[in-house]
């Protein structure tokens, strides 16, 4: 197919940007709709949110950056650039995937008289607007560095802005080439879900590992009262040179290099990516259904196996699994990585009196990994329209939902057990304490799963079109952040107090007895509560 004429109508472009903005953050859009706002007001409000977030980032990071004389400390400069670049890369990859693939609307524009260039420009703009706030601290860094280099403020802002825009475009192009290049390979299209999951998962992990790597290779910040520069990260040094010594060879070379890469990136996207992308989309659409290999004769599966197989199928959503893994593994992963690189987590000396502490640690850890993006918190809503149909079948709701609950809880449990064992080994815990930790994880997972499963049932959404709609029911991200902060700090304080009491042999028996009594009481209460408010009421 020949690429459509590169005409672009401003009215059409704005309409498409508006539609894509509504799609890029479905939860925010839905919330605004509940306030009876029309699409123009919603888009303005979304844009205002991005602007405010960006300004907030600039003020916070700009304020922090003012303290450092970046022209004299290229190591600090390049470290900041690295961290924000990694964050921007991760955010760009996931947003490009959401806007171009998760929204699944590319094919819907095909019959309409929009030129391809208009559709793509609108989508790229929506991505750029979403990603921009996360990279804006770099603008503050560039401007602060330029000011410190002796330019007057207006010139510093202009230079900082130009460099920021060039760098932003470059990052954007790199991410676009990565995502679109990958999605056009035959292997990707053959294993689309798995690759999307890997792409998002690897990006997330790369972000965490990258930031921690940058931190780990830094020197102590102060030596006496003297600020010590950090290790320079060479690839970003030309940016420093451009701001500090703009007429040096390396600065001029840096500008030419960035411009050359941008031109090359645009050329590749225009000639290689966009035409092929539509072609791929066209050819994969409406293709006859693939024949799936049967693991065995279908009829031999009993009812439970059929339901397990069905529930397993529901999990074939890359975003969901990415979120689940990030939510479950990220927090323990960060702790483990920090301790591992410092090599200072050796708890081999802990004895049996710490069994309760480890059990409690397991419970707290399980709560930190359970949130609204967990499988158990979405497994009923994942049914979508199937749920109402299944209700019409002669299947007991208690049996059906009970099986779903066990399935989702078991999956989460499997992940947690792996996390628990790894923590046990990294911390050199003895076997009894590892078992106590695992038991705590198991109980915490069971009780937390009861809460989140019932929550999913109460806030059931069956007509979702984007999985992230499910993650933001009743509370949304802020609720999760508050809950997580409460769990980390509250749980941490209680564990610390408990451990201190054990360390100093303060009322060991009494505290352990109180802990067991409280534990049994809370467990009994919660199980009883959910039994009567939920399970017993199911028909």
């Amino acid at each position: 197919m020949r690429l459509q004429v590169m005409t672009m109508n401003k009215g059409q472009l704005w309409t498409l940007i508006r539609v894509n903005m509504l799609y890029v953050n479905p939860q925010a859009t839905q919330k605004q709709r509940q306030k009876d706002k029309d699409s123009n007001q919603i888009v303005k409000s979304l844009l205002m949110n991005y602007v405010l977030t960006g300004v907030l980032f600039i003020v916070i990071y700009g304020g922090m950056m003012l303290a450092i004389d970046f022209p004299k400390y290229p190591g600090f400069f390049t470290s900041y650039v690295t961290i924000f670049t990694i964050m921007a890369l991760a955010q760009s990859v996931t947003t490009i995937n959401n806007v171009f693939y998760e929204s699944k609307d590319l094919k819907d524009y095909l019959p309409l008289p929009f030129s391809q260039s208009t559709v793509f420009t609108a989508k790229f703009t929506a991505v750029a607007i979403t990603v921009l706030p996360f990279i804006l601290p770099l603008l503050a860094l560039f401007v602060v560095t330029a000011i410190r280099s002796g330019y007057n403020i207006i010139l510093a802002v202009i230079i900082g802005l130009i460099l920021f825009l060039l760098f932003f475009v470059l990052i954007f192009l790199v991410c676009s080439l990565f995502v679109f290049g990958l999605t056009q390979t035959k292997t990707f299209n053959r294993h689309r879900k798995m690759f999307t999951f890997l792409m998002i998962g690897i990006t997330m992990i790369a972000m965490v590992v990258g930031i921690m790597y940058v931190n780990s290779r830094q020197n102590a910040i102060y030596s006496g009262k003297q600020l010590v520069d950090q290790t320079v990260i060479g690839v970003f040094l030309p940016l420093h040179q451009i701001l500090v010594h703009p007429l040096s060879y390396s600065a001029i070379g840096g500008v030419i290099g960035i411009l050359a890469l941008i031109v090359l990136g645009f050329f590749l996207i225009k000639t290689q990516i966009i035409p092929r992308m539509y072609r791929t989309e066209l050819n994969t659409m409406a293709a006859p259904a693939k024949k799936h290999r049967q693991a065995g004769p279908h009829a031999s599966r009993n009812f439970t196996q059929q339901l397990l197989h069905y529930n397993m199928g529901l999990l074939k959503n890359a975003t969901l699994m990415g979120q689940v893994l990030v939510a479950t593994l990220l927090m323990p992963g960060i702790f483990l990585f920090s301790f591992a690189i410092n090599g200072n987590l050796n708890l081999s000396q802990l004895g049996p009196k710490y069994l309760g502490v480890l059990f409690l640690t397991g419970i707290v850890l399980s709560q930190m990994t359970l949130n609204q993006s967990a499988i158990v918190a979405n497994i009923i809503s994942l049914d979508g329209d199937n749920y109402n149909f299944i209700k019409s079948l002669p299947i007991s709701q208690r049996t059906y939902l009970g099986l779903k609950f066990k399935f989702a809880t078991a999956l989460q449990e499997a992940l947690l057990l792996v996390v628990g064992v790894v923590i046990g080994f990294v911390a050199h815990l003895n076997w009894a304490l590892i078992l106590a930790l695992l038991a705590g994880l198991t109980l915490g997972n069971y009780l937390g799963s009861l809460f989140y499963f019932y929550r999913d049932y109460r806030n059931l959404v069956l007509n979702w079109t984007n999985i992230s709609q499910l993650f933001n029911r009743s509370g949304g991200n802020f609720a999760v952040m508050f809950l997580l902060a409460g769990e980390v700090f509250g749980g941490g304080i209680i564990i610390a107090l408990y451990a201190i009491a054990m360390t100093f042999n303060f009322a060991v028996l009494a505290i352990n007895v109180i802990f067991v009594i409280l534990l049994v009481a809370v467990t009994f209460f919660l199980i009883h509560h959910y039994q009567w408010t939920f399970w017993a009421k199911l028909k």
Partner: protein, 254 residues
């Protein structure tokens, strides 16, 4: 007028459409009939640029789809076989998108939309998002969108599916009126009654091949004592089924 020549679509080793050639004249309602997988939707999706044909040419009013794609799209209003799209938009936002695509002036859009929303009884729900609509309501929203720019060529893939009787009646009347104005209406259906009510010309497809192309009257004239259903089943290679249906019908009569 739409001219299709040697149209072919192959998925891997499976040919969904084999060398299809036909002409759809202006001023008539043209129906595509066939079983599931016969090639109706593939043909229609090729006409509206959703599917890229493996070979062949498509011309609309003399314009070649390969070279004048955008101009052809401006002439076509399309209703897809599934109305599950743009579900996070409200009906009004969806129509805004369509109006923008076809570059309608606000006055023209408001006038036409007022008529169509009234006709399809959509007042009161225009600010609701499509994901909360029933299948029929989504179908009405998409149909209104397709008719909003008043395009010369209507291409409707299973348009009557999910519509209530009133809306189905109104749409059929609109299709007839549009054809009467000398414009083109192309639609696909599984429902032979609808085909019989509407079609001036029809094409019957089987496994990607054209097995009949002509007027409905000519088709019925081939076997004057048989119903369209029986003729269709015979053409589709299901004589035994046709006989069985007749036998069952006979048993019921007794």
């Amino acid at each position: 007028m739409i001219e299709i020549e040697h149209l072919k679509k192959v998925y891997g080793e499976k040919a969904a459409l084999k060398d299809l050639s036909l002409t759809i004249k202006s001023g008539e309602i043209f129906g595509f009939l066939g079983h599931n997988g016969a090639g109706k939707s593939t043909t229609i999706k090729s006409l509206v640029s959703i599917i890229e044909p493996t070979a062949g040419t498509i011309k609309v009013d003399g314009l070649d789809l390969e070279t004048d794609r955008l101009a052809i799209k401006e002439k076509i209003g399309y209703v897809p076989d599934s109305p599950d799209m743009f579900l996070q938009l409200t009906a009004n936002e969806y129509w805004d998108l369509i109006a923008s695509a076809y570059q309608l002036t606000p006055e023209r859009k408001a006038k036409r939309l007022g008529e169509l929303v009234g006709l399809f009884d959509m007042q009161g729900v225009v600010d609701n998002t499509l994901d909360g609509f029933s299948h029929g309501m989504r179908q009405k929203t998409i149909i209104i969108g397709a008719l909003l720019p008043d395009p010369d060529v209507w291409i409707l893939d299973e348009p009557l599916q999910g519509l209530d009787p009133q809306a189905a009646y109104d749409l059929k009347a609109l299709m007839k009126a549009h054809a009467k104005k000398g414009k083109t209406v192309v639609f696909s259906t599984h429902v032979l009654d609808s085909a019989q009510q509407l079609c001036d010309e029809l094409a019957i497809l089987r496994q990607g091949e054209l097995i009949y192309n002509g007027s409905l009257d000519d088709l019925l004239a081939t076997e004057p004592n048989e119903s369209l259903e029986t003729i269709y089943l015979k053409m589709a290679g299901r004589q035994a089924d046709a006989q069985q249906i007749n036998a069952i019908a006979g048993d019921d009569d007794e």
